[in-house]
Each structure stands twice: as C-alpha cells, then as structure tokens.
Symmetry: C2
Amino acid sequence: MSLENIAISAKKASYTLASLDEKTKNKALEAIAKALEANKEVIFEANQKDIEQGQKLLIEGKISEAILGRLKLDEPKLRDVIQGFYDVIKLPDPVNKSLSETELDKGLTLKKISCPIGVIGVIFESRPDVIPQIVALAIKSANAVILKGGSEALHTNEALIDVIKTTLESLETFPLGAINLIKTREDVKELLSMEKYVDLIIPRGGNALVKFIKENTKIPVLGHANGICHIYIEESADLKMATDICIDAKTQYPSACNAVETILINKEVKDSFIESLLESMQNAEITIKGDEKIQTLGTNIEPATEDDWKTEYSAKIVSIKIVNDIIEAIDHINEYGSGHTDCIITKDKFQAKIFMDLVDSAGVYHNASTRFADGFRYGLGAEVGISTNKTHARGPVGLEGLTIYKYKMFGNGQIVATYTGDKAKKFTHKKLV
Amino acid sequence: MSLENIAISAKKASYTLASLDEKTKNKALEAIAKALEANKEVIFEANQKDIEQGQKLLIEGKISEAILGRLKLDEPKLRDVIQGFYDVIKLPDPVNKSLSETELDKGLTLKKISCPIGVIGVIFESRPDVIPQIVALAIKSANAVILKGGSEALHTNEALIDVIKTTLESLETFPLGAINLIKTREDVKELLSMEKYVDLIIPRGGNALVKFIKENTKIPVLGHANGICHIYIEESADLKMATDICIDAKTQYPSACNAVETILINKEVKDSFIESLLESMQNAEITIKGDEKIQTLGTNIEPATEDDWKTEYSAKIVSIKIVNDIIEAIDHINEYGSGHTDCIITKDKFQAKIFMDLVDSAGVYHNASTRFADGFRYGLGAEVGISTNKTHARGPVGLEGLTIYKYKMFGNGQIVATYTGDKAKKFTHKKLV
C-alpha cells in the first residue's frame, strides 16, 4: 500500500475509532496483551534476527553498544510491555469526557466533549518496546497511528505489529487502518508532508531526529529537541540539599533530557559552600566546567565558554556560573534553556515564587531534583513524551495530550435570527457543568 | 526598531507579564478604556484620514465598498470597543488557575497551573476595532502581542496603539514591549520566520490571508482557512424546522464562516418535502445548485459539480445533494468539509448520536443553525477567532485558548534516587485538586 493510501485509511479509521466506547477499547487492550504473551516465541525469534544483524553492524562500527543494548526485547522486557497494557486499561478513558456544559437558552445546550485528535505519526529510534507502548496509548485515546521505528529493529517491529493487527482484526470491532507501520526514511519524508491526513507528529529520539522533523513538516510536532535544565542556588540554600539535588540531577541518569546541564550560583553564596559543592560533585565523578570564579574555588575545573551554556552534555559533565542576582539567573535560563525543567534551591519562598513565575519552562521546581520531570513520576500513568511546546501540551504528556475536544450542540430548531436585532431574545448562558 | 528587536523585547515582556496579578491587569484595562474615551477626537481624526484615503482607493477601484465600510470607527463603534474592555475586566482571570494538584509524596507537591502562552502575532485585515479587542484579550491573558493590521487603516491603528501604549507606560507596572504594531508586508514575512520568539500566530481575515500564513511559517497557527459547513436532513426531519434552519444558516449572514454551503438530504425524504424546501429557500433569495434529482424537483436549479462541494460561496448560494444514508452524508462532510460546524436535522436521537460522534468537526449540531458557532453565543465572553485545528484549541476560542500551563513542583530536597531501584520509596500520587 502506498503511504498516501495508508494515511487515507488511517484517517478513515480515526473517525470510527472516535465512536468506540471504553469497554471495546479495554477489551482490545486485553486481547493484545494476551496475544503478545501467546506469541512471545515468534517475537523473540524476530528480535534475535535484529540482534544478530546488530552485532554485525556493531563490528562494522555502524551502530553503538548502547543502541545494540536498547534493541533487545527479552522475557522481562516483554513482561513490562504486557503489564503496560493492563496499566493503561486501568487509566480513566480520556475521551467522551464532558469538559463543560452550558445552557445557551431553554432547550439549547452546548457540550464541550473531549475526543481523539485523529491520526498521529510517531517516529522513534531503535527500542522496539516503544511500539506496544504507543499502541496501548493510541487505542485508549482512540487515535489512529502511523509508526516508524529504527531500521535496526525492523524484524521485531514487524513481529509486534503483526500480532497486534491480527488481534485487532479478529475482534471485528476495530477499523483496519487504526495501526500502521511504515519502514523507510523516504516514508518518513512523505509522512511529514501529509498535513491533510496526519494531525500530530510525535518524535521520540535524539536532538537530531527531533530537529529534522520540526524543520521538515507543517504538521504540529509534540516533543522536545533539547533538554538543557538548570539549577539555581540562592544564597539561603542548604548546602547538603543543594549537593544532593545537584548530584542526583546530574548522575542519576546523565543522558536523560531532565538531567541538569548548568548550575547557577548566587554571588552571595559563601566560597566555602561552593568549594564543598565542587568537591562533592567531583567525588561523584562529575566533570566540572566553570567561569573564572568557579575555577579559582576548585581544582581541575575546565573553563566554561559561551558554548557550554548552550550544551546538553548527556554525560557526567556540568557547567557552573556565578550570577549577580535572581534576575540574572532567570534571564540566563530563559536565554539559554530549552524550556524543559529548571529548579531553584532556596529557603526563601518569595525568591522561589519569583523564580517559578518568571522562568518560562514546562517545569519550575523549588527544592527538588529536575529528574522528577517524567510522566510516571508525575502520576500520569503513561507518557507519550515530554513537550517543550507552548501550545496544546507542555511537560510530560499523558493520555490527555492525545485528545482535543469538539462542541456538541443540542437544539430543537433554534435559529440565530431569534437572538439578533432589536427584538433579540437573550441567551441564558447558564453553566451546567 | 528592527522587527527582530521588537520580537526580542516582546519575548522579554512576556516573562514579566506572566507574573502580573489580576488586579494589575484589570486596572490597565480600565485605564485604557478611559484613555480611549478621553482621546476619541484624536482617534476619529486619524480614522477620517484613513476614510478619505479609502474613498480615493475606492474611486481608483483598489478597495471595495465593503472594505471602506469596515474601516469606519465612529462614536457607536468606539463605545462598543470601550464596553469590550469592561466586559473583559469581568471575565475570570484565565491564568494562575490551578488545573490539578498532586501529592507525589509527603512534602513533594506538583501543581499544574495555567499560564500565558508568551508572544502572539495577530495579523488582520482592515477593521481597526480589532486592535483594542485583541489588546484587551492579550492583557487579560498576560500575553505579549505583535499586531499587523490592514494598511488602509494605518492612521487609525497608529492612533489606537499610541493611546494604549501611552496609558500602559504611565502605569509603570506594565513591561514596555507588551504591545507592538508592525506595519509592512515585509514585516509580516519576517514575523512568520521568528519561531524563536513568537509562540503563536492568529490570522483574522479571508481564506487567502490564512492560507498564506499557514504555508509560510513554522509557528503554530490558530484559525481557519475555510468555513464549509453542512446541514444533513434525515428522513424524520420536521419540514418547518429544516426550512427555518437552512434559511437562517444561509441568509442570516451569508459571508460568515459558519454559514451553510452544502445541504445533504437523505434519499428517503419525500419529494414534496424537498420541493417545499427548495421553494422556501428560493423565496428567501437563495440561489440553489443541485444534483440531478434536486434539479428535477425544483425550477431554476443550476447543476452542482464536484467543485461546488469544495466551495465556500460567502453569498446567498447553496449546493444540495441527495445521499443514500447517514454514512454517505458523514463521509461527504469529512471529505469536503472544513471541520468547522455541521448540523443534522432529525427527530431520531440515535441518528443524531451517530452523526455527532462520526463527523470530525469543531462543532456538531443537532437541530440548530450552524450560525450559532461563535464565541459570544457560546458564552465565552470574548472571541479570539474560530479554530479548525485538531490540537490546542478548537471551535470558537476565548481567553482559555490564549493560555497553556506549567508544572510547579514544591519539595524540600527530594531526589529521584530515593524513588529508584530495589529499596525505592513509593510515590503516593494523591490527587489534591
């Protein structure tokens, strides 16, 4: 099938999906969970092929050890994947929720009802467990999806999609065309041009992938290219708290997008405090790059340049800068940050309020590690990704981010002429919900 | 000031705006309302210049009578504009609302708080009263705006912006750079390329303007290019109701985006019903284009072609088609419609439910004129425009559509390591709000 036909059939499927009730969707989720368990040998076999191919690519230097590691789909990983379906079943249905109801006049009622977005393109790298994850979220939110995974995982991806599609077809309640896998880079390019059929693109992968997608489509993109997170240490900060949070935010998972990259320290913070902080961080195997003052306070501090403020290290490296006041800290973050997650460490609630009001990021934290920025930790149940957009959805995005709303109006023959002109009838505009 | 500097200063202003409280914003709105009243002679004088220039352009055939009409800003129109400020003062503050609060663990609280989007570019045609309208909404929602009006209204626009900016400056609580006027087409092109500083573009104008903008920017665009609305008449429909609604939806304001363009009629509807409907519509001076069956049922019915199903007439013209069943009607609407507002006329609630679930439009109506699709009629208080987007905001957009949210986390030193691994502490994830 041509990509255009895939997109058209996904669009058609999306209309039908929107009318499915929660029970039908949960039944499908359960059926897929069972089918994945029943067909695990086929899936592992396909995965073995990808692994073998991956090992060759590793020897040829074409992929990294890390990518090969992420390729693996073994018994424990599949168990997590299957558990994921049961978790999503338990989440409340995000569609058909009444967001508000207004009586415009007696017998004329307007309801704002949540509904799926339509067709969502998800483009991700290597990890094949993304497929069942996204499928579970798509089914629960009643969106059609067009998936493109990394070519290294193609056999596994195909096996997974095969199990999922066969299950959905056997249910006969699901439109064919709800779930689609595309395979080549050319397909991705074409997908990005299909604004007529595709309503949202979610890239899950490194900066380069996300940037490429953002620059090559008119379809709304939900995601983040960079994760340049900051910690600002104010003069009243507790030394132990600051040290713990900085080390956690940098070392707990250094390549995560919510890891800290730059620490800003108020110039009133005591030298002894900073010296201790630097030493503790170096003991935690963190490489420090600092401005002139920081270099004088520690040993083995590399100089930080303008470029460092713009860098997501994705490693145990951090840049540190002294700032004159909270305003300089906020300006630095709004200038160099990526609007992801930024933290102030202070005992002063007023300083915290200023920081949290003025820093323009998806997450603004007072005395907590930036690493908390995550759908599971936020209690969203499941996560589509983290968005640094300023419209639609921001921060960790759960099922709600896969919905929009429509207005349903219930009348009995009302016309606008009645409510217009000299003898206009007045609207009641009574809030019902 | 260069456009880039305008955009940078708007971005900086947007951070400060976000921290203003409701009282400060309402005070500014009141001050502007009073200043507009106090400076009305200056505004009328500037408007007179535009009108005189417009009359020349009319004679030269460069603008239409309609555009010249919309240019006029007289005493009653200014009164409406000023009243608009007092109306917006009364609307609840859309920012700093707590959308949800979750206890992640004792002493670790996550709040999802509504906040402004940031910098919004608004591009509109001729009518100068759009400026104070948008400024009122921008101030209330704490967004910075960059406005571009029609060149025919430049004197009036400049006079209005002058009064507004002078007032805001005198208050000393508002950041300079919150309100900006740009003047040339080149400025618009540059604005559309400023995704670094501009978070949202709202075009208010004809199809050509909206299409041009959508095709020439990576910034999210909120609006609609087309308004191709449908009415589907099901076999159980009441003749009088169908006639009243069709005539209202077509004639009450034919050039509005929520006017009906195509009427679909179920093939089971009686010939006599259709004959009567056609006659009533023609008596209401509506030109009818119809398929073969419709042509045989009326007189002076022009043949409708494929092109008609894609046409927004913006005039007292309507196309009519017989469909085999509700599915054909829904398919037609999803194929040719613009996702704006579509109505079913029926006594059968089950048919209405199918239609309202499966038609993928911002508004789906049962037995009411499509002309109700409007922010004021919906009770939103004020309207930014009508969106046919599938993300962020859909249908008539009020103040809420000018906001997004940020997550504020309040901790006392929590780190993620505590909640990870074998001895992981569990999150409580207790919903507080």
